[in-house]
């Protein structure tokens, strides 16, 4: 139910902000060349990302997150769980056939908050009043007839007759009658997410600030992240160190190509995650195992990108270099390597992404330190706030790696795509 409402609100915000921004921007369109194109549908170069949409998109995610978790970041919230005091009356019937009304006072409180059952006088008649406290999102089984004398049974709630298995709505929740005569009180849950499923943004922020200061499981946060990055860098560098020369050899020699083609083509589609069990058996669960895994994850990608980098060298350039008197080594150094750099950078970006994903997965399986270890350990303690914090950090680092690789690419191979 919450999911459908969430999706509906999201779609409504998407369409609504598109219309609103469209209206607001009317008359303020850009007047550059692209704006004058009449054919934009199908002309990819004419599709420019609307940065306003990007900003709204991110804001909407946080607003929805806040609205569905009761966070103070959002001014509006979907209805939360019922909190506070409520009362209902029930009618008990004793074996003698007499009936009597009694009142039940309840207080629903947030988990972790101290609360005591409200005080209520015993009342008159054989059915005595009861009181209880209930944690939000939980249900409570109340044996209200326990103090009403031998054999008393509930026959009505708030004046409405009730049978075993039936329920009656009360203020702030509902009351059901179990087959054995107890009342099941279910406070209203509202539409908000329970913190154990989705903590509010400020809880995640709190988790981050706490862990940034105190560390997690006696290891500082930066050490967790640093260990993951260190594994990725070492694995990637080793993979490149072997993979790039291997790719060049495959691009330059028929024997190398023939020898390694079956190996590379077989290993390429094997997901690195599938190698984790074997790598653990062979190299154990500590650093060497993880680095071997990341080495294997980067190796084939780098070999293939170096190979296709070599085959992408135009024969005209090679011929030109030979007729300018270059030797084989000079051609490798001055023509083939620079010409294959754009391809190698593309491969390196892919490899870094794969390695980052693989290291987190490997740390989920076994590690003492690392981003993946942090979130799997937190999930075992149901610390969803730490899990989400970890996922966000992992995403940000992966994104940061990709941006750095792109910057390096623009800086080192400015001729990419301009051959």
């Amino acid at each position: 139910m919450t999911g459908i409402i969430l999706l509906a609100i999201y779609v409504a915000l998407f369409v609504g902000s598109m219309l609103a921004v469209g209206l607001a921007m009317r008359g303020r369109e850009q007047h550059d060349f692209t704006a004058l194109k009449t054919v934009t549908f199908g002309d990819e170069s004419a599709v420019r990302p609307n940065r306003v949409a990007s900003i709204i998109s991110v804001v909407v995610i946080f607003l929805l997150w806040a609205a569905f978790t009761g966070s103070s970041l959002s001014p509006l919230h979907v209805p939360g769980p019922f909190l506070g005091e409520t009362r209902f009356t029930y009618t008990a019937e004793n074996p003698a056939g007499e009936t009597d009304d009694a009142e039940v006072a309840l207080v629903v409180h947030e988990q972790g908050a101290a609360a005591e059952a409200p005080e209520i006088a015993e009342g008159d008649g054989f059915a005595l009043n009861d009181a209880a406290q209930i944690v939000a999102y939980r249900t409570e089984l109340l044996r209200v007839t326990g103090n009403d004398g031998e054999g008393a049974q509930v026959v009505a709630v708030n004046g409405q007759p009730i049978e075993a298995g039936g329920t009656v709505a009360i203020e702030g929740g509902s009351v059901g009658l179990s087959p054995r005569g107890s009342l099941t009180v279910t406070p209203d849950r509202g539409l908000q997410m329970e913190p154990i499923w989705l903590p509010s943004p400020e809880r995640v922020w709190d988790a981050l600030t706490t862990i940034a200061v105190e560390g997690y499981q006696n290891v500082p946060l930066l050490e967790h992240l640093g260990f993951s990055l260190f594994r990725v860098l070492v694995g990637f560098l080793l993979g490149s160190l072997v993979g790039i020369p291997l790719g060049y050899a495959m691009g330059l020699s028929g024997w190398f190509r023939g020898w390694f083609d079956p190996i590379v083509e077989f290993m390429r589609p094997v997901p690195p995650l599938a190698l984790i069990p074997l790598v653990i058996i062979w190299f154990g669960i500590w650093e060497s195992g993880k680095i071997v895994l990341l080495f294997l994850a980067a190796l084939w990608i780098m070999a293939i990108s170096a190979r296709s980098g070599v085959s992408g060298v135009s024969i005209t350039k090679v011929h030109a270099a030979y007729s300018l008197g270059a030797s084989k080594w000079q051609i490798l150094r001055h023509v083939i390597i620079p010409n294959s750099l754009p391809e190698i950078f593309t491969g390196a970006r892919v490899a870094m992404g794969v390695c980052w994903g693989t290291v987190v997965a490997a740390e989920l399986v076994a590690a003492q330190k690392g981003a993946g270890m942090m979130i799997i350990a937190a999930s075992k303690f149901q610390r969803t706030d730490i899990v989400i914090m970890g996922i966000i950090l992992i995403g940000l680092i992966g994104f940061g790696i990709d941006i750095l690789m792109r910057k390096a690419e623009n800086w080192l191979v400015p001729w990419k795509g301009r051959g």
């Binding site: 007729s323 300018l324 008197g325 001055h334 400015p414 301009r418 051959g419």
Partner: protein, 292 residues
């Protein structure tokens, strides 16, 4: 019409290297009975060239013309040393050609420049490979870039230049290496008409000033007439020499307005003659394909 072979020598195909020591043969470039025949993967074979022979003296400017498939690019690649002929050989200054070398520079249609290097670094490439000192090769590169009208673009990246300027770089790069022979494979084919005319003037000027032997392959009859002291018309299937001309236009065009050269009475006549010659060959090919 039987193929005429004015430049052909009587040299046999089994001529040994020491036979080449005769003084008359130490000069220039000779193409001796070159044939090129290769098998097709689907079976059958292609006779790309058949018994092509030609003598080229030092400093001669030869343009090669012919319908597509006449083997002119194959011939150029053999002279450059990128392909080995199945028969015959290429001899330059008494040495048999067995592979590419700096003595035979090449200018390609396009895409042969190194876009990871600046304009100057491209021109310096050949001397740098030979190990010429930095100062020396920089001076020679600067000089050539000035001659080719690129003085203001020395530090630019290749991809920042127009197609015409890129071909100027290619010419300068080739000249920087001081080759004996310059092989040009449709160097101006991708340029627009105006740029092309300017570049034709530049080629003539550089030819005269440097005294290089040049072989230029082209699709354009006009260009072949303008840039050919000698003009070779090749015929297809199998690729062979069809006709050879000696022409006055290249000499006349040096440092002159090429449009005036084109107005010379002989020019139009020769152009018509060669055009109809090639037209007939094309017709023949088309007819053959239709009948096949």
């Amino acid at each position: 019409m039987p193929p005429s072979r004015p430049g052909a020598t009587a040299a046999g195909l089994d001529l040994d290297a020491h036979d080449l020591m005769g003084e008359d043969r130490m000069n220039g470039l000779s193409i001796e009975g070159v044939s090129m025949r290769f098998d097709l993967p689907a079976g059958g074979h292609v006779q790309a060239l058949q018994d092509v022979s030609l003598e080229l003296a030092d400093g001669e400017l030869l343009s090669v013309l012919g319908p597509s498939g006449c083997g002119k690019t194959t011939l150029l690649n053999i002279v450059a040393g990128f392909l080995a002929p199945t028969d015959g050989r290429i001899v330059l200054h008494g040495n048999r050609v067995t592979g590419p070398s700096a003595e035979r520079g090449m200018v390609f249609q396009q895409g042969a420049l190194f876009e990871w290097m600046s304009v100057r670094a491209n021109v310096e490439f050949g001397p740098r490979m030979k190990g010429m000192p930095a100062k020396e090769r920089r001076d020679s590169a600067d000089h050539l870039l000035d001659i080719t009208g690129l003085g203001a673009f020395k530090e630019k990246a290749i991809y920042e230049l127009s197609g015409g300027m890129q071909q100027r770089v290619a010419l300068a790069r080739c000249l920087a290496n001081d080759p004996d022979v310059i092989l040009m494979d449709e160097p101006l084919g991708a340029l627009d008409a105006l740029t092309r005319e300017k570049m034709q003037g530049l080629v003539l000027k550089l030819w005269k000033e440097t005294g290089k032997t040049i072989i230029l392959i082209t699709h354009s009859v006009e260009e072949a007439l303008l840039l050919g002291e000698r003009l070779l018309v090749m015929a297809p299937r199998p690729g062979r020499i069809h006709r050879e001309y000696r022409l006055p236009f290249a000499e006349a065009g040096v440092n002159q307005d090429l449009r005036q050269v084109k107005k010379m009475p002989d020019f139009a006549i020769k152009r018509e003659e060669i055009l109809s010659m090639i037209w007939e060959m094309e017709e023949e090919i088309m007819g053959r394909t239709e009948n096949a």
